[in-house]
Symmetry: C2
Subunit: 192 residues, 2 copies
């Protein structure tokens, strides 16, 4: 009864994500998106609403795809320490080429102050990251890898805070080795 869509919605979201990730929200124009997504202007509006709605969908897409990737990487590690360490490694390896940082951190800095809807999404994302860290710490305590003295709440936020710092510095640091040393020092709190 109706014409078939010629583009894949997820693929289009992925392309939009790449652009927002590199350029940020304000610097990315609908023209940029039309060109890079390979989807007609009107189709973008028909499918995703407007620029802001598209960005919200990109954030949802980012959250899903990145957390899938990360959790896959964590499965390959055995010890709790290696899993937490992999959390940092993921940010660093996936960014060594471009230094794009993390879209959620970028968004927090660019938009959280004047866009409450987005601030809420950022908070939710941060909370979920902290949940992952918390559970890894708990796992480490359970198998006797980490001290039971460790305050899980604060340690979680401590590690998350360092992770955010790293994700910012990916955009400016020339020397990734130094960042790795920072990570190593951060995770020293986990030593028994």
């Amino acid at each position: 009864m109706a014409r078939k869509r010629e583009f894949d919605e997820n693929e289009a979201l992925m392309k939009a994500m790449q652009l927002f990730w590199i350029q940020g929200y304000e610097k990315t124009s609908m023209d940029d998106l039309v060109n890079h997504m390979g989807v007609h202007r009107k189709s973008i509006y028909d499918t995703f609403g407007n620029k802001h709605a598209l960005f919200l969908k990109v954030l949802a897409y980012y959250k899903q795809s990145v957390s899938e990737e990360i959790l896959t990487q964590l499965e390959h590690k055995e010890s709790a320490f290696d899993k937490i360490s992999a959390l940092f490694d993921y940010s660093m390896q996936s960014n060594e080429k471009q230094g794009k940082g993390c879209l959620v951190v970028n968004t927090a800095v660019e938009l959280a102050l004047h866009d409450e809807a987005i601030a809420q999404i950022v908070r939710t994302n941060f909370d979920e990251t902290e949940n992952v860290i918390y559970q890894l710490l708990q796992f480490g305590q359970t198998i006797g890898e980490f001290s039971t003295q460790l305050d899980l709440d604060i340690t979680t936020k401590f590690i998350h805070n360092a992770l955010i710092g790293i994700r910012v510095q990916l955009k400016t640091a020339g020397d990734f080795e130094k960042l790795k040393q920072v990570v190593e020092m951060t995770l020293r709190v986990l030593q028994k």
Copy 2:
């Protein structure tokens, strides 16, 4: 021989800084600046060049004024630990009302990837912050407050990384108490 300027250049820069700090570079229009600076459009161009040049001057102004404020605060503290702690306190207290974060961190995230001139300025600012931290650590070692076992280079970067994390989270965190606990845990590495 010529007409006198009716606005104060530094005051105008301060007003521009306020706007860029809250809104970011891309979101701040020349119209916004004209209104908030209270300076005529043409006068802004005659005095500061264009928007990009104005932003560079704002960054320089920020660096000077903030570092002056911080160093003043540090002087009032006696111990090396209290001085380093004050570095974090400064970020947190000056932002409790607005959650503006730090202009340099904001700029790093928004512009460093596609503006090399600004990336360079951000790096210089970060380097200077690390210099301050380094010297405080060294001072603490000299007066026997910190262990001489402490690797000054890495510890400096470790603390700076946590400071950047805090400055990001100021923009999203609802609970400042939690952030203070993160700071406290971070500075635990300084305990002998």
